[in-house]
């Protein structure tokens, strides 16, 4: 079934607004890091590329998705709510007392697999999932989303080396390459480049794309998820931290910034 890119783009705008609206209600959430990943996440979940069943979050036939960059996963909340993993009304209660939806997502939330927030764990756990699925000759894939700053963690590289050596071709790692850490641009803190070459040297297939060009994101994800690569695959999505919010896009420390209430209200209201 052919995917309609315009529909995905419209869904991405909806999820973007819903993410800003969550931030409006819960300013302690990391909004800049969440907005960079919206297009990639929408493409994954609405592009027909993943197997999942919101009525059975732990369905054994699901593709496993690990949000290793937990700080930036607030955009997942409106997606999972929209798909029916939990009631949309829960979005009103993010970071409130007693909500299942915290500032950083954890596996008490239907649709999340692992404990998030401590960076660098996702790729290694994903390797374990992928190895287990391969040993059982199961068809499900493992998708893990990391941030570029997260790749400073040494455990990430232990996992990349392992996945390459084990030829975990059921593993896809997506880098939300928004090029910013918490305090500065990543290349000024501790440069990762040439990142694609590093993946290749570790035995991975690596592609790069504009992470806000829905057609490009879709085409690359489709190739990497549907065509056997014989090796683990990485998609380096070039994104913009704080995407769509001028005040965030302009600041190298936007990870820790919030959107002013009036700007938040205007953006969430759809006038952006």
């Amino acid at each position: 079934m052919a995917v309609n890119i315009a529909d995905l783009e419209q869904k991405a705008r909806d999820i973007w607004r819903a993410t800003v609206a969550i931030h409006q209600r819960a300013p302690e959430t990391r909004v800049a890091s969440s907005l960079s990943a919206v297009d990639v996440l929408v493409c994954l979940y609405y592009g027909g590329l993943l197997r999942f069943d919101p009525r059975q979050p732990q369905w054994t036939g699901r593709d496993r998705v690990i949000m290793s960059k937990g700080h930036g996963a607030i955009a997942m909340y409106p997606i999972l709510a929209d798909l029916g993993y939990f009631p949309v009304a829960e979005l009103e209660r993010v970071a409130r007392n007693g909500s299942i939806l915290g500032g950083i997502p954890d596996p008490i939330i239907p649709g999340f697999e692992t404990v998030n927030g401590s960076l660098g764990h996702g790729p290694g756990v994903a390797c374990g999932l992928a190895l287990a699925l391969k040993r059982q000759r199961r068809p499900e894939r493992v998708v893990v989303l990391v941030g570029d700053g997260e790749m400073h963690e040494g455990a990430v590289w232990e996992a990349l080396m392992f996945a390459g050596h084990q030829q975990l071709d059921n593993l896809l790692l997506i880098v939300d390459n928004n090029a910013r850490c918490m305090l500065n641009d990543t290349n000024k803190v501790n440069s990762l480049e040439p990142l694609a070459d590093k993946f290749a040297a570790f035995g991975w297939v690596a592609r790069a794309c504009d992470g806000h060009d829905m057609r490009s994101v879709y085409n690359n994800l489709e190739v990497l998820l549907r065509t056997p690569q014989g090796r683990p695959a990485a998609l380096i999505a070039r994104t913009i931290k704080g995407h769509g919010v001028p005040s965030l896009e302009a600041s190298p420390i936007c990870h820790v910034l919030t959107i002013a209430p009036d700007e938040c209200a205007r953006l969430a209201g759809g006038q952006a």
Partner: protein, 317 residues
């Protein structure tokens, strides 16, 4: 008469692992490039059911957690100080936290308890591991004193759910048990004696028995208790065992005053109405760069059987 054949804990443990692997196809073995002749047997017998992840303890634990999420009971095998400390946060997040909301079965099997890698220097010695591992919720912490117990932990716990740390001695030690003790109880009285109770774990349980023999020569009747599980442990039974003594002495090949066996004993004693004196004996919290065998190190620390005997006799006087 030939000396008894000593079995290393790791080999007995691996025998137990293989027995479980024979019975349960969903048991998978992971090593951080750490071996044993018995592991060679395991690898040959089950070539598709083990992986050497390389010298990468963080990834070892993460891979073990990921496979466990898919229903495998995994064993992560490495040198004890590295398995407990290099990847502590992987254990905290992906085993202890995650197992509270997901069903996991992971066994961290560490070799090199206390000073057992004596001449390899302080990096290879595990003097903090019991303290730090027992601070983690949801983690079983085992410290066997002999091969029989180590094998029992493997056969009784692997594949039965939960996450655990097993710290095994690197040296071959005499067996203390004919059959594995009751793991859920956490401890076992090895001998009775009404004047002093020696509470020990791992290698120090052997030292406690030697010390008790020397105390006996001085007319002091010492009981000896082996604590093979620091958690979970039957707290009520443990307290009852402690209050029967007029002096409790804890013996550990680890730092004292840092949350190890001495803290376990003290915490239990706080909860009883009787006032039971407690003497916590172990290692002063500092690292030693001096090259020397285990017995030399323990003697310097006042933990040889003769020095312990003198210290305990003084405490009783």
């Amino acid at each position: 008469m030939s000396p008894p054949v000593l079995c290393r804990m790791r080999d007995a443990f691996l025998n137990g692992v293989m027995a479980r692997m024979e019975a349960d196809e969903k048991i998978f073995f992971l090593s951080a490039d750490f071996g044993s002749p018995r592991l060679d047997v395991l690898a040959a017998r089950y070539p598709g059911r083990w992986v050497n992840v390389g010298i990468a303890e963080q990834n070892l634990v993460n891979v073990a957690a990921g496979m466990a999420l898919e229903g495998y009971a995994t064993i992560a095998y490495a040198i004890a100080p590295f398995l407990s400390m290099r990847c502590y946060e992987q254990t905290r997040v992906n085993l202890c936290m995650l197992s509270q909301v997901r069903s996991l079965d992971v066994t961290l099997a560490g070799v090199g308890a206390g000073f057992s890698y004596d001449v390899s220097g302080p990096s290879h010695q595990a003097l903090e591991d019991l303290s730090i591992m027992r601070t983690l919720p949801n983690l079983e912490v085992y410290s066997p004193a002999d091969a029989v117990t180590a094998q029992g932990i493997a056969t009784q716990r692997i594949g039965r759910g939960g996450v655990r740390y097993v710290r095994m001695d690197g040296k071959a030690l005499p067996d203390l048990y004919a059959a594995p003790p009751e793991l859920a109880r956490g401890f076992q009285e090895l001998q009775t004696g009404r004047e002093v109770l020696l509470v020990a774990t791992g290698y120090m349980t052997h030292r406690a028995l030697e010390t008790a023999a020397l105390l006996q020569q001085q007319g002091i009747a010492a009981a000896v208790m082996d604590v093979f599980a620091l958690q979970p442990l039957d707290q009520t039974a443990f307290q009852q065992a402690l209050v029967s003594a007029s002096l409790v002495v804890s013996l550990e090949e680890g730092f004292i005053g840092k949350g190890g066996l001495d803290a376990l004993v003290r915490q239990a004693l706080v909860g009883v109405p009787q006032r039971i004196p407690h003497l916590g004996l172990g290692l002063t919290p500092e690292y030693s760069f001096e090259v020397g065998e285990r017995e030399l190190r323990l003697d310097r620390a006042g933990l040889s059987a003769s020095k312990l005997t003198a210290r305990i006799a003084t405490a009783l006087a």
